[in-house]
């Protein structure tokens, strides 16, 4: 009746929401010391004993000396360890996690091996919460300066770890401070091993379960799973959609498949005096019927039948034509919550109805929560109602009951050297030379890409990333700089020809071509703007200055009338409008001109070209900056930039590396 106490204490909180226990403890892990067999002198059985403790826990037996001897015999026979030269035969020998893995997998046949590098307290807490004790590599007496040793973690609080220490006669549930444990655990590089159930949970008869992500709903009946064929069948049985428990796929391995429920029963409710009856036919058109009596109104109400109760004077007529059905108690699968302490149970107790009238309480809140019942509606009854619809109170459901269903399978998770674990799934661990085991694009032999990362693990980022490129100006090369490809740098310019075009992009047109000796220099149109000096071109090397050019706001005498920017051309200057959009948690920042700066979550700026050109070239720089805290990070590449002028977005190599730049190639600064 230990669970009565638990209920009195723990289930006081059911009605007030969830209970987050600070201490996770597995109270039912049987202990075995590593001696006997052998003696304590140079006994090396800590590893096999720790594995035995787990094997016994999952196989549900109490580990004895004979079990440890059998295990050692097996280890010797398999050649996994050899007896020590100067010790007793059953003193065993040193072992590592791999040996223990072999024991769990092949001796106890608990499942397949999986490796990961969860080595923090959350990992331990989560495993314990799932009912899994964890083997850890530590030291004798949890003393980091002592000899290497295996223990089994069976509990954890905010300040202490609770272990089974096979190295002591009285090694069960020993407490050590977390500081001491952490220091000791670190000496083994946080070696740990856990037999992890796949989360398959047992459910009592009457439960409705549905695998997450699947449409199929099953009824647990006679400890088998019956598939409820469709919604119409579900509704015809008056199952409650709110009673469906979301479960993991592994639960389907827990129960044998019973078949499908494909018929829609026809039901009517009758009342004779204070007695209620359920009239039921397998289908509407079936000729056979069954008449079942509810033990009480509470029993009827637990069924939640949306039917009109028909009052009749006598049931004899119906009894004559129908078979007598089973007396109906609380409906299976219903969570029964007494409104007060009843029958010796604490006030907080909750039962699940099963086997037509059996009420099973839960050992603790964690079990209740583990099985997913905390998400379901409770059916509240008083003591009289409880008694009226209950056949008997069954055994309490423990976490062990919940976790280990039928032929449940287990997976073994081994945590040893984090360096040997391929964290990012790229096929290489740190031990294999992966220089960034959190980045699947980095591993030995990977192709180097332009991302500011050492992809091929040769010690250099973005090395060797040069590509040939061709523009109208000539042949060039792209270089990867700061994780971005730069513009095409021309190294072989296009040959300048006499065609009125600046072929080699040096700012000069048809330069180097011979002009006939009898031609006056004043008759040569050097800038190919259609005007020679003799024709009034006041600057024959600038196509923006000639008698036919309109005056524009550029501080030049464009139309060669000896006046600069006349006619109010600067009154309404040309401008550029750009918008910058950053992710929700970032602000956009834009800098332009000499010291102009704007920022905002979504930014649109209009900048006069004259201001834009204060830098000598038409460009601005921008960035996306984290808000909380301000400037805790920045990344210009996440910005979306659009402008009303032709523009190029580049990495900020002129002003400040880490910023983006917008250049306007069609704008000219004068």
């Amino acid at each position: 009746m230990k669970w009565l106490f638990w209920w009195a204490v723990l289930f006081m909180l059911v009605g007030f929401g969830s209970l987050q226990a600070e201490t996770v403890l597995l109270p039912d892990v049987s202990f075995k010391s590593q001696s006997p067999p052998g003696d304590w002198m140079n006994n090396m059985n800590c590893g096999p004993t720790a594995a035995l403790v787990l094997g016994a826990y999952y196989k549900r037996f109490d580990p004895e000396t004979a079990d440890l001897k059998s295990l050692l015999d097996w280890l010797y026979a398999e050649g996994l360890i050899y007896p020590q030269a100067y010790a007793e035969y059953y003193d065993g020998n040193v072992t590592n996690v791999w040996h223990l893995e072999q024991i769990l997998e092949n001796f106890f046949q608990l499942g397949e091996v999986q490796r990961s590098n969860n080595f923090d307290y959350d990992f331990l807490r989560q495993e314990l919460a799932k009912g899994n004790p964890v083997i850890v590599g530590v030291n004798i007496n949890m003393n980091a300066t002592s000899f290497g040793h295996f223990m089994v973690v069976v509990g954890l609080s905010d300040t202490e770890v609770i272990v089974h220490d096979p190295g002591k006669t009285y090694g069960d549930y020993n407490h050590y401070s977390l500081d001491k444990f952490q220091a000791s655990w670190a000496t083994s590089n946080y070696a740990s091993l856990v037999v992890q159930s796949k989360g398959a949970v047992w459910y009592p008869d009457g439960s409705l379960v549905q695998v997450v992500g699947d449409n199929n709903v099953y009824l647990v009946k006679d400890q088998r799973l019956y598939w409820i064929k469709n919604e119409a069948v579900f509704n015809a049985h008056h199952f409650d959609w709110l009673k469906i428990l979301p479960v993991r796929a592994e639960v389907l391995d827990c129960f044998p498949y019973g078949g499908e429920i494909n018929q829609s029963p026809y039901r009517e409710l009758y009342r004779v005096g204070d007695t209620y009856y359920l009239y039921e036919k397998p289908t509407f058109i079936a000729s056979t019927c069954t008449l079942s009596q509810f033990t009480s109104l509470a029993a009827l109400n637990s069924w939640k039948l949306p039917l009109v109760v028909q009052e009749i004077g006598s049931i004899s007529g119906l009894y004559g034509s129908c078979m007598h059905g089973t007396t109906q108690y609380f409906r299976d699968g219903t969570l029964i919550k007494p409104t007060e302490a009843a029958f010796g149970f604490g006030e907080g107790v909750v039962f699940v109805a099963t086997n037509n009238g059996e009420l099973k309480p839960f050992v603790d809140w964690e079990t209740f929560q583990l099985m997913g019942y905390d998400q379901l509606e409770l059916f509240h009854v008083n003591e009289a109602e409880l008694q009226s619809a209950t056949r008997f109170f069954g055994e309490a459901i423990s976490k062990m009951d919940a976790l280990f269903c039928g032929e449940a399978s287990y997976q073994i998770q081994v945590v040893t050297q984090p360096e040997s674990v391929d964290d990012d799934g790229d096929g290489f661990s740190e031990q294999d030379g992966d220089c960034d085991d959190q980045n699947p694009s980095s591993y030995p032999g990977a192709s180097e890409i332009c991302d500011e990362v050492d992809n091929d693990c040769n010690g250099e980022e973005d090395d060797g990333l040069i590509e040939e490129c061709v523009t109208s100006c000539g042949l060039g090369r792209h270089y990867c700089e700061d994780g971005h490809w730069n513009g095409c740098e021309i190294y072989e310019f296009t040959l300048e020809i006499e065609d009125g075009v600046d072929n080699d992009c040096d700012g000069l047109i048809d330069e180097g071509f011979v002009i006939s000796e009898d031609t006056s220099p004043l008759d040569v149109d050097n800038d190919n703007d259609g005007y020679t000096p003799n024709q009034g071109d006041c600057d024959d090397w600038s196509p923006e200055k000639n008698p036919g050019h309109p005056e524009i706001c550029d501080d030049l005498d464009n139309d060669c009338n000896f006046l600069t920017d006349e006619g109010d051309v600067c009154a309404e200057g040309e401008s550029v409008t750009c918008s910058f959009s950053c992710p929700a948690d970032m602000n956009a920042h834009v800098w332009f001109g000499i010291a102009s700066h704007k920022s905002g979550s979504s930014l649109e700026v209009t900048i006069p070209v004259s201001e834009l050109c204060l830098r000598g070239e038409p460009w601005l720089d921008f960035n996306c900056v984290c808000r909380q805290p301000e400037w805790s990070c920045f990344d210009w590449t996440v910005a979306e930039v659009s402008c009303d002028q032709t523009h190029e977005v580049k990495s900020g190599v002129v002003d400040f590396v880490g910023e983006g730049e917008v250049w306007f190639p069609d704008l000219t600064c004068h």
């Binding site: 590593q34 001696s35 304590w40 002198m41 140079n42 006994n43 090396m44 059985n45 800590c46 590893g47 050649g79 996994l80 030269a85 100067y86 065993g92 040193v94 072992t95 590592n96 996690v97 791999w98 040996h99 590599g137 530590v138 030291n139 004798i140 007496n141 003393n143 980091a144 300066t145 002592s146 000899f147 290497g148 040793h149 295996f150 190295g167 002591k168 006669t169 009285y170 090694g171 401070s177 500081d179 001491k180 220091a183 000791s184 670190a186 000496t187 083994s188 590089n189 070696a191 040893t416 050297q417 040997s420």
Partner: protein, 221 residues
């Protein structure tokens, strides 16, 4: 019995120069060296270990020529742990003293192919743990010391150290927990406790015990 054998060996001061005597100790209820009964038999002459002076942490002692001396890193400064640790061994490679093997001990676990670049399975080692500073070790009794640091110890007996009769030393005779080290002795000097243990594997026991004996005899506690 191995502990007792070791202790009796400690009093044989001429082991390096005369044929070594193997001594069997007949245990008695109260340890009184003057009353111990020895049976002697001759064992083959072995070449004595050549020793060299060594110093570490202001201690001077002797180790066999060619042996390595390692001041092991103390992982933390947590209470109830040794403050200093010295490991003397006849190899430069790593060795395993406890029941836990690190994962890289075998290159190939299935075939148990030893990682010979890092570890060796043939060694003699002397492990020295020093407890000091945390509590008033000067007045701490043996009972208190073991209760604090070695709770698995249930019985112990006093011993006289060879060549250092004034020192307080004990050997543990009963535990209810695992007890590693083929020989192990505790020494209390002023405000320090010393835990000295001998470990060997695939090596001659006589050589190992001689090395341990020499180490203790020459150690300036």
């Amino acid at each position: 019995m191995r502990v007792i054998l070791f202790l009796t060996l400690l009093i044989v001061s001429s082991a390096c120069t005369v044929p070594v005597k193997k001594i069997t100790y007949q245990p008695q209820a109260e340890i009184d060296l003057s009353k111990e009964v020895f049976e002697e038999e001759l064992v083959p002459i072995q070449k004595p270990l050549e020793l060299v002076d060594a110093e570490k942490e202001n201690w001077s002692f002797q180790v066999p020529v060619g042996w390595s001396l390692e001041e092991k890193q103390i992982a933390t400064e947590l209470p109830r742990e040794a403050q200093r640790q010295l490991l003397v061994k006849n190899t430069d490679k790593d060795i395993i003293l406890g029941g836990f093997l690190p994962d890289d001990y075998y290159l190939e676990p299935v075939t148990q192919e030893l990682n010979v670049e890092k570890y060796t399975e043939s060694f003699i080692a002397i492990n020295l743990l020093v407890y000091e500073g945390e509590v008033d070790f000067y007045d701490l009794s043996w009972d208190e010391f073991f209760a604090d640091f070695y709770p698995e110890v249930k019985e112990f007996n006093s011993r006289e150290l060879l060549g250092q009769p004034d020192l307080k030393a004990v050997v543990v005779t009963a535990t209810d927990g695992v007890w590693l080290g083929s020989q192990r002795i505790f020494v209390h000097v002023e405000d320090r406790f010393y835990d000295l243990s001998l470990h060997y594997k695939n090596n001659e026991v006589n050589v190992a015990e001689e090395a341990f004996r020499n180490f203790i005899t020459n150690f300036q506690f």
